[in-house]
């Protein structure tokens, strides 16, 4: 056991730091949906041109193939430089891309992967439906085979980025009468196909990039099916370990910096009683408590990458991280709201008008999206603790 970096790790860190210092955009990400997507594409392209795209994608697919420790270093440096996150490339880089790498054909790989890394194609996810969110296997959107095509009808929801995505990883029911996890198919849907309607959904944050997506006789070539027709569930789950290991790594590491920024905020905020917020003992101790939590999350990140480097997959901490990160974040946001007082309410519907206020509302996105807190507990109870099941 050790916390040391190898000389090569340190070289890597130095190179990453230098590149990020020169390349992280000076302007913040625009709130507007189209402009935001353009910003994300430009950043991804810059990463690609600089040789930093797909840090944990395998080398043979154009990624850097970094091990766990190097991935951790990369995210630490991104956090330090306040570099943009995955944003609209989240699905492409952490789900659709890895799924194609794991289950796709040679043609899928050559058609789609490089364009993701180059920042040319945004992907969105067509999994959740109005009646199938946490209970994904209840999905009803259907696809019928018609010659070389699947004809899709139905509705998806919570589709982040649908208005700007070129492609969608779409999970549909292709066997009439099938139930639950059976009879599903994972297919690549071109978002410009006739019959797709995207309808934005307003959110509590004001600015919003989530949508309802409607499919009216949308014809998708059968060659776009990844895995087998009817084998969609296992395709959708194939990247679960990858996701657990990586998707929340940056959030975990970010939390240490975020708590420090909240402490800084408390030092410079004068509350209505004329005192500095940090001089309130309750506020100060809550922040210190969250600092301890954040250090614990960073320790879990190190445990996580240690398991990945040692065993090729995350250990039980992988399924616990999302639960803890999103809860610590929510507690931090409550403290920030409390210490900020009335100015916390100054908000014009975009994150730039008040980053903390946006983050406060976003804290519910983190506890709901990507497996709600309640679902994370089910996963831990089922898969880590082997507790008796009712389902």
């Amino acid at each position: 056991m050790d916390l040391d970096y190898t000389p090569e790790d340190l070289e890597f860190r130095k190179a990453a730091r230098a590149w990020l210092a020169d390349n992280v955009p000076k302007q913040p990400r625009p709130a507007d949906v189209q402009a935001g997507a353009a910003f994300d594409k430009a950043w991804q392209r810059r990463l690609y041109d600089g040789g930093w795209a797909g840090v944990n994608w395998p080398k043979e697919y154009g990624g850097l193939g970094l091990n766990g420790v190097r991935t951790l270093i990369w995210w630490e440096e991104c956090e330090r430089a306040r570099a943009p996150g995955y944003e609209r490339f989240t699905i492409a880089l952490t789900h659709a891309g890895p799924t194609i790498i794991t289950c796709g054909t040679q043609e899928h790989k050559s058609t789609y992967l490089e364009n993701i890394l180059k920042g040319e194609t945004i992907w969105c996810q067509g999994f959740s439906e109005p009646g199938a969110g946490s209970d994904l296997a209840a999905l009803k959107t259907r696809g019928e085979i018609d010659g070389d095509y699947l004809v899709v009808n139905g509705q998806k929801t919570w589709t982040s980025g649908a208005a700007t995505a070129q492609f969608q990883e779409l999970l549909i029911r292709t066997e009439p009468g099938s139930e639950r996890h059976k009879g599903l198919t994972w297919i690549i849907c071109d978002m410009s196909a006739p019959g797709i309607t995207v309808q934005p959904i307003g959110t509590m944050m004001g600015e919003s990039d989530i949508n309802a997506t409607f499919y009216d006789n949308v014809r998708i070539p059968l060659k776009n099916v990844v895995g087998e027709v009817g084998g969609g569930w296992s395709v959708a789950m194939s990247t679960l370990a990858f996701e657990r290991g990586n998707t929340f790594l940056r959030d975990q590491i970010s939390m240490v910096g975020k708590v420090e920024r909240a402490i800084e905020l408390a030092r410079r905020t004068i509350t209505a009683d004329g005192k500095r917020a940090i001089d309130d003992v309750e506020t100060a101790r809550k922040l210190a408590d969250l600092k301890a939590d954040a250090l614990g999350l960073r320790a879990m990140a190190i445990m996580n990458v240690s398991n990945i480097d040692r065993n090729g997959q995350p250990g039980p901490e992988g399924s616990m991280v999302k639960l803890l990160v999103s809860q610590v974040n929510k507690q931090l946001m409550e403290v920030v709201a409390d210490l900020s007082g009335q100015p916390f309410l100054d908000y014009d519907g975009t994150r730039h008008s008040n980053e903390w206020t946006f983050d406060f509302m976003w804290s519910w996105v983190l506890t709901i999206a990507g497996g709600a807190t309640e679902i994370q507990k089910e996963i831990i109870a089922d898969r880590v603790l082997n507790l008796p099941r009712a389902r």
Partner: protein, 339 residues
């Protein structure tokens, strides 16, 4: 960078777990009372394994390992609410060694003497006339010395027969005295830092074990107990708190390991790490002790079941080497390691 114990370290952990299963099974706590003879035998058995000198050099009669291995062992002991006496014993042996008190050191290492731990009830003072101030003194059995943190110093105080009179105490498995430290001679003194950091780590390790042990106990119960025709572990009202408890344990364990390595390697962020480790582990131990009692239902509050010992022990360890408030006040301003 690697946070997973290597083969040698895993062997230490397995050996400790083995000892615990045989010598300190949780079943020993069913309707248990403190028994001096049993406690003495346990201490001597642990001494036989070298546990009081794990991180002490071989030249000093120790095993020559590090605080990381200490943390492994304390975590295993915590799982079964084992004797906390090992914490002051480990620290006192190091202090005695540093002060050239080899007889005391050897007696502690051999398990013929124990070491007690004084926790201040009011500010303790130390000047030319000696130490003064009221303290609770924990783990007084067969104590050859009392460890006390006084201001910026860690002290070992000498005691004679009859100096430490046991008082009734909530945690009935720990013999505790209460007195003014005035009159106790100073046997050894050293800057407090090393002892406090080491103590925080040991306490964090023990508390992490408590958190894990409590979850293991309620997890087992939830898998066999039936109500309304179903195993209670199938109910979300039961399984979700247990899942949260497991996550808290894992959080505490990862942080414990990082803190242990930071202390072993003398890293700049050692204060932030060991303070955080105790804060997080103490919270995990307390909350997990709570769900362990609560989810057992009525049987949870009986002395038939050892669930209550987890809670009482977490309470007892709260002020050791700095209570939550003091640790948080330190932590707020503590710089993080810049890479």
């Amino acid at each position: 960078m690697d946070l997973i114990p290597n083969d040698d370290q895993q062997q230490i952990i397995d050996m400790a777990a083995d000892f615990i299963i045989n010598e300190l099974p949780l079943t020993r706590l069913f309707d248990a009372r403190y028994d001096a003879g049993t406690a003495r035998a346990q201490r001597q058995a642990m001494a036989g394994l070298g546990w009081f000198g794990i991180a002490l050099g071989e030249d000093s009669g120790g095993v020559g390992m590090t605080v990381v291995e200490e943390a492994f062992i304390l975590r295993e002991i915590g799982r079964v609410v084992g004797p906390t006496a090992i914490i002051p014993a480990i620290l006192a042996a190091k202090l005695a060694d540093g002060a050239g008190q080899s007889d005391l050191r050897d007696a502690i290492l051999a398990g013929t003497k124990g070491a007690a731990f004084a926790v201040a009830e009011a500010p303790l003072r130390c000047d030319a006339d000696g130490v003064r101030g009221m303290a609770r003194i924990y783990d007084v059995q067969d104590a050859g010395a009392v460890l006390a943190i006084v201001g910026e110093e860690a002290l070992l105080l000498g005691i004679a027969d009859g100096d430490l009179v046991e008082v009734p105490f909530l945690d009935s498995l720990t013999p505790v005295a209460r007195r003014d430290l005035a009159g106790l001679p100073v046997l050894a003194r050293a800057p407090a830092g090393a002892t406090v950091h080491n103590g925080l780590l040991l306490a964090a390790a023990y508390l992490t074990g408590l958190a894990e042990g409590a979850v293991a106990m309620v997890q087992e119960y939830a898998s066999i107990r039936e109500t309304f025709g179903r195993k209670i572990g199938a109910y979300q009202a039961v399984r979700h708190p247990i899942a949260e408890g497991a996550a808290r344990s894992d959080h505490a364990r990862s942080l414990l390991y990082v803190a242990a390595l930071a202390l072993r390697d003398g890293r700049d962020d050692v204060v932030a790490q060991v303070s955080s480790a105790k804060v997080v582990a103490h919270r995990a131990a307390t909350k997990n002790a709570d769900i362990n009692i609560q989810l057992h239902g009525g049987i949870g509050i009986t002395s038939d079941l050892p669930a209550h010992h987890f809670m009482k022990r977490a309470l007892m360890l709260a002020p050791w080497f700095g209570g939550r408030k003091a640790l948080l006040d330190t932590l707020l301003d503590e710089p993080l390691l810049t890479i």
